[in-house]
Symmetry: C2
Subunit: 181 residues, 2 copies
Amino acid sequence: MSLDHALLVSLLEKPSSGYALARRFDRSIGHFWQATHQQIYRVLARMEEAGWVKGRLKAGDAAPDRREFTVTALGRREMSRWLGEPTEPQGYRDALMVKLRGAAFDEPVRLLGEVERRRAMHAERLAQYRAIEARDFSGPLDRQRALQYQVLKSGIRFEETWTEWCAETLGLLRDLERRDR
Amino acid sequence: MSLDHALLVSLLEKPSSGYALARRFDRSIGHFWQATHQQIYRVLARMEEAGWVKGRLKAGDAAPDRREFTVTALGRREMSRWLGEPTEPQGYRDALMVKLRGAAFDEPVRLLGEVERRRAMHAERLAQYRAIEARDFSGPLDRQRALQYQVLKSGIRFEETWTEWCAETLGLLRDLERRDR
DNA sequence: CGTTGCAATGCAACCCGTTGCATAGTAGGC
DNA sequence: GCCTACTATGCAACGGGTTGCATTGCAACG
């Protein structure tokens, strides 16, 4: 919800063009949020109309012209207002949970490959996060860095949880198979 | 994604009316998935047309007439087919992360109340899950029970992770405040 | 020089989820 | 007997996200 404010924060951290935002969402932030360029351009247009951001044409040195967006004073005020609002937790609906329950009406062992695949994916992400942690967040951190680190830490914790849970689930599935035979 | 299959599983576990499904989604499953009755009725209509489920009118004893849906053989086959498909992990985009990064451009201390509120919410959910665990999943479990328990366990793990992370975040925010003064 | 590829922006259409509203019947409170 | 509340179903409209396609400009490859 509210891609608007996610973009606002992203632009506060670094003024960018719509394209650059889309690319960045594929990387750092995008691990836990995905947005296509379409959404981004539309949201940017909406925010510009509302006066939260302002786009300036930067004639391309090499690439075609791009519109670089910066956050206005009004945008900052909106940001601040939004910070004060309460936010509800997002239910983490993952199809894997549904499949697990569904597997009771099929052969649970069929999920083995899938769960192992997922375990590997989460383990790999975890490794990526740890690499970022070591590279960018060792040593003393200023305020902004410290807060960014805390967000990264949530990613680390969740990927840890995922990998552990997947491993446990693999054990259960093998157990159920043994029981059936 | 694919509320269709979530409903299919729910109906396999227990044939129900649209209304009952909506209620159940508020409880057990709904902790990590929320669906309004609107969606549910529309999806049910779609699935009935596809022949995955069949609705039978049960003249109400007390309440008004309700249409109880059961899964057809075709629906079971679809379920089984879907189980074989790979599922991508759902990025857990939570506004709280965005706010934390945004707080770098405001007063981080303003988030204290919000994070504490969230910590309490997750702690409470955790307690609920643990209560369900003790009530419904102690002692030996059949296949279906065991799989349901594994889903519940993910809820427990994630809520644990959340509460711990929130507590850590509270520490950081207080730390940043001390630094500023 | 033409083709391929990528940076950068955008339109249009569709689907899904959300919100607000409507209805109809039954049960219980005052 | 009326009002409120709850069960049960549904329509309509809006907004956000997704997908597919289109365009312009530069750069590099053969």
